[in-house]
């Protein structure tokens, strides 16, 4: 039984890896190309005025856009490039923890048959509400 369980497990693991590869690789290509276009800067520029709502400096927009379109790791890199207080880091982190790597992760949830729009709305909505609350509470404290 032991050997059989391992065999079945490895097989399921390979099957799952293959399924995820088919979903993730195309999106990964899109994401990599995106990094070399000015699209990210444009979007960040659009969102800059909105940052005061979350008690964040305008430069934070680029971190949020990178985190949402690319990945959490990319956002960390961008975060290090600008000077932020601990409170600002926590506000950005709370927002990003709800909503990040939307291209890759939404592709994965789509594979499960759940509507892309709903998943994105849930994630971005939670990020906005959480950012507002932590930002406001932080401003009072």
């Amino acid at each position: 039984m032991f050997i059989n369980s391992i065999k079945t497990g490895v097989l399921k693991g390979l099957e799952t890896t293959w399924m995820l590869a088919k979903v993730i690789i195309p999106v990964y290509f899109v994401v990599t190309f995106l990094q070399y276009t000015p699209v990210i800067d444009w979007i960040a520029y659009l969102f800059t005025p909105l940052m005061t709502v979350f008690n964040l400096p305008g430069e934070a927009a680029i971190v949020l856009v990178i985190g949402n379109l690319l990945s959490l790791y990319a956002a960390i890199g961008a975060m290090k490039a600008i000077a932020l207080t601990n409170l600002e880091i926590t506000i950005i982190a709370v927002m990003l923890s709800f909503s990040h790597a939307l291209l890759v992760e939404t592709a994965v949830t789509k594979r499960l048959g759940v509507s892309v729009i709903k998943v994105v709305l849930i994630r971005v909505g939670l990020a906005l509400v959480a950012g507002l609350i932590v930002g406001r509470v932080g401003a009072i404290l």
């Binding site: 039984m1 032991f2 059989n4 369980s5 391992i6 079945t8 497990g9 490895v10 399921k12 693991g13 390979l14 099957e15 799952t16 890896t17 399924m19 995820l20 590869a21 993730i24 690789i25 990964y28 290509f29 990599t32 190309f33 070399y36 959490l72 790791y73 960390i76 975060m79 290090k80 601990n86 880091i89 926590t90 950005i92 982190a93 709370v94 990003l96 923890s97 709800f98 990040h100 992760e105 994965v108 949830t109 594979r111 499960l112 048959g113 759940v114 509507s115 709903k118 998943v119 849930i122 994630r123 939670l126 509400v129 959480a130 932590v134």
Partner: protein, 157 residues
């Protein structure tokens, strides 16, 4: 241009290799637990998920895998569980809703704590928000939503 393609190819191969390194051990351990009948005992303390959201008990294992290891791994186990035929469309939607808000709580939290964020606020807000949102959705997920999902699934096939 060639540089970018190279970067994307190497990057995606790297990502898939990492996924494989996690997914195979996860699947082997789950299979062993299942075959030796210990999975039920491990999952038992977490059955409150299925009671709170009124979802099937077989949803609890994929939900736990997603919460701990991440969305992709959770999705993998969800698909395997669905193949065994124990998940309804409603289960699927509520699981994905919960995991959309709250997944990979170890990795995601640690990355952000490493740059100076408050881990308790992060983890707390994610768990609380996911529970409240999924609970509300579980009360209000209507027949139309389920039908919409079925249509989406039909398109996939």
């Amino acid at each position: 241009m060639i540089e970018i393609i190279k970067e994307a190819t190497l990057g995606s191969v790297g990502t898939i290799t990492t996924i494989m390194k996690y997914v195979i051990p996860i699947m082997v351990v789950l299979q062993l637990f299942r075959d030796y009948k210990i999975l039920d005992k491990i999952v038992k303390p977490f059955e409150f998920f299925s009671r709170i959201f009124n979802i099937s008990k077989s949803s609890v294992t994929p939900l736990l895998v997603g919460i701990i290891f991440g969305l992709s791994f959770g999705a993998g186990v969800i698909i395997q569980t669905a193949k065994e035929g124990n998940l309804s469309k409603r289960d699927l939607f509520l699981m994905v809703a919960f995991l959309a808000a709250c997944h990979a709580i170890i990795e995601d939290t640690l990355i952000l704590v490493a740059v100076g964020a408050n881990g308790f606020i992060l983890l707390g807000s994610r768990l609380v928000a996911a529970f409240i949102m999924t609970y509300l959705l579980s009360k209000y997920v209507s027949i139309e939503d389920i039908e919409e999902l079925e249509q989406a699934a039909a398109k996939e096939v």
